[in-house]
């Protein structure tokens, strides 16, 4: 009997041992939402942002005055703040901006007689000082390691502190945005002297603006306070750009978002829906393959199949080739800068031409880009833009030809998943960015109207 028992047990042992071999590779239980999300975030370079150092108050005061002063525009009818308005989260709330010659502000601004829309959406300036390497939708101003590339080439003044300052040099040189055309007269009926310079006469354009500014005693005083070691006759527009940058850095950095608090190791800062949306964002939906890094974007250029709307660029109007407009960037036809996403909830309409008005529409577009592009209904645009929609088969085919490989196939997100993605995008909002009206000064040194 003993032998039988021993044999039976021995056989049982062998059977069990054989069955256990399969356990050589084992899986732990699925991670919690937070653990999974944090492990995922680690891989995308999405890290907390340290606070900006306080900017010099004299610089900020000068920058604020310049930002809201229409004296910087050729026709004295538009300021930086006209299209980057605090009321509309430092954008203008329009698909395409209305530049010089227009009237009104924000979503109510209308074209002037004979004027065209600015070809690309006015991006928000919120968090523009977070160290973005590329500025403008086509990234024509870049800054890496203290080296800048701009359309001005060697004409750019030396010693600019950062790429944002380099960017601030250019809106005053753009005819459609601020400078105006030859023959224009300003709001007082005087000739627009700034429009006389040629389009490549950068130094002349900047000098012209500075001549206007130092003709105003209050500006001289403000410049002297902000740059006490620089004689008035040596002030250049780069000093104005430095001041504007200081204002943008001080006033427009808005990073106290639920997501940033979550990055700061507060698990309760985001709702579960937002966390699930974040997991989609950094996972299945593959948003983070472009929207990554500290800015959650701003690091590359992608053709995401956005409908073509507007007057177009210089290369192949009325199409806008985006970064492909720049010399040597054929690869990037129809590719535009990936937008940084903090406060995106407040900064519609979205994409380089404001094709979609809501985040829901944006997510739906990404869910099936081909379907979205071919089925785009221009009726959703403002009436004056509907005629500027280029929905012909050739244009759509050209855009789709360069469509990013990650968007070639539908993402197949469910309706719930799409809403969770939107919940995450809304977790990128700093509550203090919802009302920026306190930034609007009562008046500016030129005496021109602020609003």
């Amino acid at each position: 009997m003993t032998r039988h028992v021993v044999r039976a047990l021995g056989l049982g042992l062998l059977v069990m041992a054989a069955g256990c071999v399969e356990t050589d590779r084992v899986m732990p239980q699925p991670p919690s939402l937070d653990a999974e999300l944090r492990a995922t975030l680690r891989n995308w370079g999405v890290v907390p942002i340290i606070p900006q150092p306080a900017q010099d108050s004299s610089l900020v005061a000068l920058g604020q005055a310049l930002f809201f002063d229409k004296e910087l525009s050729g026709n004295r009818d538009i300021a930086c703040a006209t299209c980057h308005n605090p009321v509309t989260a430092m954008g203008d709330g329009q698909s395409l901006p209305v530049g010089t010659g227009g009237s009104g502000i924000g979503p109510w601004r209308v074209l002037g007689p004979g004027r065209q829309f600015v070809p690309r959406n006015a991006p928000t300036l919120l968090n523009v000082a977070l160290g973005q390497p590329y500025i403008f939708w086509d990234g024509r101003v870049t800054g890496f390691g203290g080296q800048f590339q701009t359309p001005a080439g060697d004409s750019l003044p030396r010693g600019l502190p950062n790429v944002l300052t380099a960017q601030a040099m250019f809106p005053v040189t753009n005819r459609r945005e601020m400078r105006g055309d030859p023959g224009d007269t300003d709001v007082f009926g005087k000739p627009n002297e700034l429009a006389q310079a040629g389009d490549s006469q950068w130094t002349a354009m900047w000098r012209g603006v500075m001549l206007r500014l130092i003709a105003i005693p209050e500006y001289v005083a403000k410049f002297n306070r902000a740059f006490p070691t620089v004689p008035t006759n040596q002030l250049g527009f780069q000093h104005a750009a430095i001041a504007i940058t200081a204002f943008e850095t001080q006033a427009l950095t808005k990073i106290d978002t639920p997501f940033d608090r979550y990055l700061g190791r507060n698990d309760d800062a985001m709702t579960s829906a937002a966390k699930r949306g974040a997991l989609l964002f950094f996972g299945k939906a593959a948003c983070s393959t472009c929207h990554n890094g500290p800015q959650i974007g701003a690091g590359n250029f992608v053709d995401v199949g956005v409908p073509q709307i507007g007057p177009g660029g210089a290369a192949e109007p009325p199409l806008d080739l985006g970064r492909g407009e720049l010399q040597g960037n054929e690869f990037y036809r129809f590719a535009f800068r990936v937008a940084p996403l903090r406060n995106v909830e407040l900064t519609g309409p979205y994409f380089h031409d404001g094709a979609y008005a809501t985040l829901d529409a944006v997510v739906k577009h990404y869910n099936d880009v081909r379907l979205s592009l071919t089925g785009f209904d221009p009726a959703q645009l403002a009436p004056e833009l509907q005629a500027l929609y280029h929905g012909d088969a050739g244009t759509i085919a050209a855009v789709l030809e360069r469509l990013d490989f990650r968007l070639q196939q539908p993402l197949k997100l469910t309706v719930t998943e799409q809403s969770e993605l939107v919940a995450f995008l809304k977790a990128l909002t700093d509550p203090s960015a919802r009302d920026l009206s306190a930034l609007v000064p009562a008046n500016v040194p030129s005496g021109l109207p602020v609003r």
């Binding site: 084992v26 732990p28 919690s32 653990a35 340290i50 160290g131 309760d268 709702t271 800015q295």
Partner: protein, 500 residues
């Protein structure tokens, strides 16, 4: 503020030996453990650790101090242990020295051990958050994160005393103190760390009773209380973006995580001959009540929890046969366990339904229901060498431990309830060799624990770069968390020397 991830990995630590039934381990993931707490000599380890119907003359006095009544004379044991995990996943070495003695009706023992536990060798397997060279361009203020040193020392002390009261009844008490600088495998719980400093202690108190009737019937009873307290000072290297300088900054952050457990238990065991042919049968029953006022967080196992409590039980039956030079034993133990853990809100938290969870209220509850099974069996035979009977002993055995549980997790923030089932099997071949001389006895015991894993294998994070857009600069997520199977092999050599 952070609601951290938690693990039930090392719930209880003071298992006196490989077959200890008095403290029931509770594990939710098959992370490989080393044989760190294998401190005392054992006769039966080579036979799979069978113990329910087969006495272990070396180990029993350490498990139940009243069983020191079986000791005759004074004996010295030196029983060094070395263990290591495959794939260079850690290991350790322990040098225990023990003395068991009897004087009249009094008996007792002392033991001391020093131990060196190696790091698990995986800290370098985890990539930095970004594919940027440490200290290279683009990263400022680099902190020198060299990680903790390669091994750490622990110390253990044990003392017991007992008295034979006559008529086969004896009582005893013991205390074991552990000074801990490293728990094996804990470094695996913090894969992104730069450094880990562990410190803590354990105290194990036992009161035992042992009754032996004529005819080799025995009853043992044990009451135990075990306290375990560890601190993990974990240094992380955090990455920040400095917008002013367009660069990443690294700063170090130290998290102090506390692990606390209190276990109170009762254990009963009864053995008697089954029939005249040498068979014996034994039964055990154990109850453990565990309170975890603090549970150390970690980043591997991911059940959110701050505190917990458990009730763990076992019932088992064993058969053994001793006839002539041969011996055979088999144990079968069933372990039903109920465990609850929960996380609490550090700050008011908004639920998905719009309610607010106040500070201190539970945000997540985890209710585990375990049904574990343990099967141990082994055979042994003594051989005669050069005219000396029983000069050589050979043992073979196998231990199987099947872990199976269901987790019901209630997330009060998301207003959801999820269920999860998990199971795995550990299997451990064992072997033993004994050499008996007139003046001393030399035993070698070994085992390999299979069926567990350790993170840090290829594919755990560190996935391949995919073809991202030209200007992207970050790594993509790797594969899901997974454990690579590792085996842990343990060797124990015991020198038994009668002192008088």
């Amino acid at each position: 503020m952070i609601r951290k991830t938690r693990s039930l990995l090392i719930f209880l630590f003071a298992c006196a030996g490989p077959a200890s039934a008095q403290i029931i381990p509770i594990r939710t993931v098959p992370l490989a453990r080393g044989d760190q707490f294998f401190l005392f000599p054992s006769n039966n380890l080579g036979m799979g650790g069978v113990s329910l119907a087969l006495a272990d003359s070396l180990l029993d006095p350490f498990r139940n101090p009243a069983m020191g009544a079986r000791v005759s004379g004074t004996q010295l044991f030196v029983s060094p242990v070395a263990y290591s995990s495959s794939q260079q996943a850690g290991g350790g070495r322990t040098l225990p020295i023990s003395i068991l003695a009897r004087a009249g009706s009094w008996f007792g023992g002392v033991s001391a051990a020093i131990q060196q536990v190696d790091n698990s060798g995986t800290s370098n397997s985890f990539p930095q958050p970004l594919a940027l060279p440490r200290g290279g361009p683009g990263i400022a203020n680099t902190v020198d994160g060299t990680g903790s040193s390669s091994s750490h020392g622990n110390a253990y002390a044990f003392g017991s005393i007992g008295k034979a009261l006559g008529t086969g009844l004896s009582v005893g008490g013991s205390v074991q103190w552990s000074g801990l600088k490293a728990l094996d495998g804990v470094d695996l719980l913090y894969p992104g760390r730069q450094d880990l400093a562990q410190s803590g202690h354990g105290v194990d108190l036992r009161l035992g009773l042992f009754k032996e009737w004529p005819g080799s019937r025995t009853l043992e009873a044990l009451v135990l209380h075990n306290r375990f307290s560890m601190s993990h000072n974990v240094t992380y290297l955090d990455l920040f973006w400095d917008p002013a300088n367009q660069t990443f900054l690294q700063t170090s952050r130290v998290e102090r995580n506390l692990d606390r457990a209190r276990t109170t238990g009762l254990h009963l065991a009864y053995q008697r001959p089954l029939m005249a042919s040498g068979w014996r049968i034994g039964w055990i029953g154990t109850a453990n009540f565990v309170a975890n006022p603090r549970i150390a967080p970690n980043e591997v196992v991911t059940i959110p929890r701050d505190q917990g409590r458990s009730a763990a039980y076992n019932v088992g039956v064993g058969l053994a046969k001793l006839r002539g030079p041969g011996r055979f034993g088999v144990d079968l133990v069933y372990e039903p366990i109920w465990s609850t853990s929960w996380a609490v809100a550090d700050a008011p938290a908004l639920t998905d339904l719009g309610d607010t969870v106040p500070v201190g209220a539970r945000t997540i509850e985890n209710r585990f229901r375990f049904s574990n099974l343990v099967l141990r069996l082994g055979v042994g035979r003594d051989l005669t060498l050069t005219g000396m009977p029983k000069a050589l002993g050979l043992d073979l055995g196998l231990a199987l431990r099947s872990m199976r549980y269901q987790l019901v997790q209630s997330d009060h923030l998301a207003a959801t309830e999820t269920q999860l089932r998990n199971s795995w099997v550990e299997w451990s071949p064992t072997w033993g060799l004994s050499l008996r001389f007139p003046e001393l006895e030399l035993k070698y015991r070994g085992r390999v624990i299979n069926g567990n894993g350790r993170p840090g294998s290829p594919g755990f994070f560190g996935g391949p770069l995919i073809d991202v857009a030209p200007n992207s600069f970050v790594l993509t997520p790797g594969s899901d968390l997974s454990l690579a199977g590792v085996s842990t092999i343990t060797h124990q050599i015991t020198l038994s020397l009668p002192l008088r």
